[in-house]
């Protein structure tokens, strides 16, 4: 089936199998491999995207459900060559180890700071509770979120 959606502000179309996820369509059909494919069951958050402005796991959205909707992926956060403040904070804080969880964490952090520009530690923990870092690099990730909130 033909799926037509807006990704990072631009119209895109793809032929999708009816049972495939938005994540699969983004990565394999639409040229947006930034969202990572890991657990495919909403446990790890590495495929986090904004769907009509709401943080979701792209693996749990049917590609067909995204028809006519707006998606923001990690690729859509930077302004040209200039990194999004959250991306810059992750770089500066060394919050990236293997990097697999980073796109999801960056999108989830950007979502948090948009809603709550000066979050408490508990708020940060809650907001990022759906994103797993397999390297267990949470301390630096925390530093990055706090730094992004200050910037």
């Amino acid at each position: 089936m033909r799926v037509s959606l807006t990704i990072n502000g631009e119209r895109h179309e793809a032929d999708c199998w009816e049972g495939e996820s938005l994540l699969f369509a983004l990565r394999e059909k639409l040229g947006f491999p930034g969202s990572k494919n890991a657990c495919e069951q909403g446990e790890c958050g590495s495929c986090s995207v904004l769907y009509d402005g709401t943080l979701v796991c792209a693996c749990l959205v049917l590609a067909a459900q995204a028809d006519g909707h707006e998606v923001t992926t990690v690729e859509g956060l930077a302004e040209g060559e200039e990194l999004h403040p959250v991306q810059q904070a992750f770089v500066d804080a060394g919050a990236v180890q293997c990097g697999f969880c980073t796109p999801g964490l960056v999108v989830a952090t950007a979502d948090l700071l948009r809603r709550s520009p000066d979050p408490s530690d508990d708020e940060i923990r809650e907001a990022l509770s759906g994103n797993l870092c397999r390297c267990t690099g949470y301390a630096k990730i925390f530093d990055a979120v706090r730094a992004a909130a200050r910037s």
Binding site: E18, G19, L60
Partner: protein
């Protein structure tokens, strides 16, 4: 596979009548896992995301009608928090922010898992499930709606359209045991409310929800009564013995909260 995407409830019910085998999908937090892992290949999926009537909630003569597409995030953060505190607490324990943004109350009832977090708080508020089809609409108490492990009373041509309840305004709480705060399938869960009677309902401790009631002055024996009403199993998440013990302890703690 075919995806049907109705934009009105009338159209959704007509499609469900024409294709009773179609799997309804709302937030996708259960069905997508089945699809991603090749555990299910339904011939048709009925995508309810575009049906506006299945969003939000309304009030009618002191009753609340929660549309089946109401998300956990909406319950957790919206004005329902004050009227349905136990349901709001339960919603806050579901999955992660990403899951709560998509998962819906109708999906929890449709999946009918014994671990469904919304079910105990709905049961202690004596909620009723609205089932609709082209034949009409009926309401089923939530404790009757869930008929077994992942089984419910929905007819083949029906959709879950709403949950009805009259908020008791009773002091109430929800508790859940699991290895961490987020992304936990309950080892056991419990909702307790206390007004002129005590009401409790548990999750992950029986194939279907049971509403346990007692007069207020029988609070001291209530934890034992709740534990006895359960029919837990041994599985990867916990043993039968642990679950029964946990229910006793949780009920005691919940009573301290709601009778304070």
């Amino acid at each position: 596979m075919d995806v049907l995407t109705p934009t009105t409830l009338v159209e959704a019910l007509r499609l469900k009548a024409e294709h009773p085998d179609a799997w309804a999908i709302q937030g996708g937090t259960d069905l997508m896992v089945a699809l991603n892992f090749d555990r299910a290949r339904p011939e048709r999926v009925l995508n309810l995301n575009e049906v506006r009537e299945l969003r939000g909630f309304t009030r009618q003569n002191g009753s609340l009608r929660l549309a089946s597409g109401l998300t956990y995030a909406e319950i957790e953060h919206g004005e329902l928090r004050d009227e349905l505190p136990a349901l709001a607490e339960a919603s806050r324990t579901v999955g992660s922010p990403q899951i709560r943004n998509r998962g819906t109350i109708g999906g929890n009832l449709g999946t009918a898992s014994p671990a469904g977090d919304a079910i105990p708080p709905l049961a202690v508020e004596r909620a009723e499930v609205e089932c609709a089809s082209v034949r009409g609409t009926r309401r089923v108490p939530v404790t009757d709606f869930i008929t077994g492990v992942k089984r419910n009373a929905l007819e083949q041509d029906e959709l879950i359209t709403a949950v009805w309840l009259s908020p008791s305004r009773a002091p109430q709480t929800f508790m859940k045991i699991g290895p961490r705060n987020a992304m936990v399938i309950a080892v056991v869960s419990l909702a307790v409310a206390a007004d002129d009677e005590l009401r409790a309902c548990f999750g992950s401790a029986a194939p279907r929800p049971v509403l346990v009631t007692a007069p207020r002055d029988e609070a001291s024996s209530f934890p034992e009564r709740v534990a006895e009403a359960a029919a837990p199993i041994d599985d990867v998440r916990g043993s039968e013995r642990y679950r029964r013990h946990a229910l006793r302890v949780l009920t005691e703690r919940a009573l301290k909260r709601v009778l304070a």
